[in-house]
Subunit: 235 residues, 2 copies
C-alpha cells in the first residue's frame, strides 16, 4: 500500500522530467538546459519544514512528489492551514512575485520531493519567453483561485458539511480512492477548516456510527460516498 513512487528525476535534466508538461513545455532546449543546471532537488520526510513563514523569498518551489501543507500563524497567534498542496503545485507561488517574504510555512505532510529553482533564473526566463510568462500567469492564477474558492466554499458550510467537504477532497482530488490514509492530524483538520479538534473527532465518530465511513487508525474508508456528498452539499 505504501510503495511510494521512486524518484526518476534526480540527476535528470528538466527536459526529461515527467512533470515538464505543466509549465515548462514551452521553453527552448537551451532554456531547459539552464533550468537543469540551476535547479535543486530537495527530499523531505513527513513533517519537515521546507519554508518557514517569514523566510525570504529566494526560490521558486515546485512539489514533485508527496503532499505538503501551507500554514500560517495568524495575528492572534493561532495556527491556521491555508491549504494543501498536491504534486505539480507551485507551493511558494503566491508570494513569489508579490512579497519579499513567505506569508506561509510550507511543511511536508508526506515524504516529498521538491524542485527548487532560483527566483532570478525564473525571472530571467519570464523576460526571455513570453510563452513561459503566459504559462506562469495561468498557473499562478489557477493556484490562487483554487485556494480562495476552497476557503469560500468551506466558509458557508457548517461543521458536518466541512468535514464531508474535506474527506471528499482527499478522496477525490488527492488520493483518487475511497480509501486513504489521512495525512494530517485531527488538530490540523481543525486548523484547515476552522473548527476545534474535539468537534472534528466528534463528527468523524458520528460518521463512523452512521456507517458513512470507517476508521482504522489513520485510514479512512468512505463507505457511502453519496451520503457523504449529500452532507457536503446540504449538511
Amino acid at each position: 500500500m505504501n510503495d511510494k513512487m521512486p524518484t526518476p528525476c534526480l540527476g535528470e535534466s528538466c527536459g526529461e522530467c515527467g512533470f515538464r508538461s505543466t509549465v515548462f513545455n514551452c521553453l527552448s532546449n537551451e532554456q531547459l538546459e539552464l533550468l537543469s543546471t540551476g535547479k535543486d532537488l530537495l527530499r523531505a520526510k513527513k513533517g519537515e519544514v521546507i519554508i518557514k513563514q517569514g523566510d525570504k523569498v529566494k526560490d521558486f518551489i515546485f512539489l514533485r512528489v508527496g503532499l505538503a501543507k501551507l500554514s500560517r500563524v495568524s495575528s492572534d497567534g493561532k495556527e491556521q492551514l491555508v491549504g494543501i498542496a498536491r504534486p505539480k503545485d507551485f507551493v511558494g507561488l503566491l508570494s513569489l512575485f508579490s512579497s519579499p517574504v513567505h506569508p506561509y510555512s510550507i511543511i511536508a505532510i508526506e515524504d516529498s520531493e521538491f524542485c527548487i529553482v532560483e527566483f532570478e533564473l525564473v525571472n530571467r526566463l519570464v523576460q526571455e519567453s513570453g510563452k513561459f510568462a503566459f504559462s506562469l500567469l495561468q498557473k499562478i492564477s489557477q493556484v490562487s483561485d483554487l485556494l480562495l474558492n476552497t476557503k469560500l466554499d468551506i466558509d458557508n458550510r457548517q461543521l458536518r458539511g466541512r468535514i464531508a467537504f474535506i474527506l471528499d477532497l482527499f478522496s477525490k482530488e488527492v488520493y483518487e480512492s475511497t480509501k486513504f490514509n489521512l495525512p494530517i492530524s485531527r488538530k490540523e483538520i481543525g486548523e484547515l477548516i476552522d473548527m476545534r479538534v474535539e468537534n472534528v473527532v466528534r463528527i468523524l465518530s458520528e460518521f463512523r456510527k452512521d456507517k458513512i465511513i470507517s476508521i482504522e487508525g489513520t485510514t479512512i474508508d468512505i463507505l457511502q460516498p453519496e451520503k457523504l456528498e449529500w452532507i457536503k452539499n446540504h449538511g
Copy 2:
C-alpha cells in the same frame, strides 16, 4: 463632500493616464499606443453590474475611479462577497488567465470608471514584453494574496472583531479618514464577513452605545480608533 473626481482620461492616450504607473510603465511608446486604441472606458453608476458571475472572460478590467464589490453565489445559493476592489485594482484579474468564465460578479458600489482592454491585446503584450509580464505577475500575486489573507484574517475573528476589522479597513485602506460613508448595506457587510444582518446591526448599535463610533444614516465616524483597533485584534 461628494465632489467626485472628474475623469481626466476619457479621450486620453494611456501614456498620459495618471494610473499608468501601476503596471504599464514599462511599455514602449508603441505598445502604449496600442493600448490607447484598444482600450474602452466604462462609466458605471452605483449598483451597476459590470460583470456577471459566469460571463465569459474576454477583457482585462481595471478600476480607475470608484469602488466595486466582487461577489458570487455560493453552491448553496447564498450571496457571498469575495472582496472590495479599490482604484487601481484589477478587478477581473484572478480569472483572467485561469478560467474561461468569471467566477465572481463585479458590481459598482460607488459611481465608478473602469478601463477595459481586450484580453487578446494584453496577451500580446505579455508575449512581447518580459517586463510587462513580470509586472503583471507581481500585480496578480498581490491582488490574490490580499484577497486570501483578508479572508483568513476575518475567519479567525468573532463577530465583534469582524465588524471592527471591516470598519478599520474602510477607514484606513479605502477612505483614509475616520469619517466616511459606508458604501454597502448591512446585509452586504454580513455577506462580506460571513454573518447575519441582524448581528451586523446589533454590533454596530453596540459600538454606537459604547461611543466607539457614531452613525448618521450611512455615515460612520470612528470616535475611538484605538478602542476599535483593540476590538479588531482581541475582540
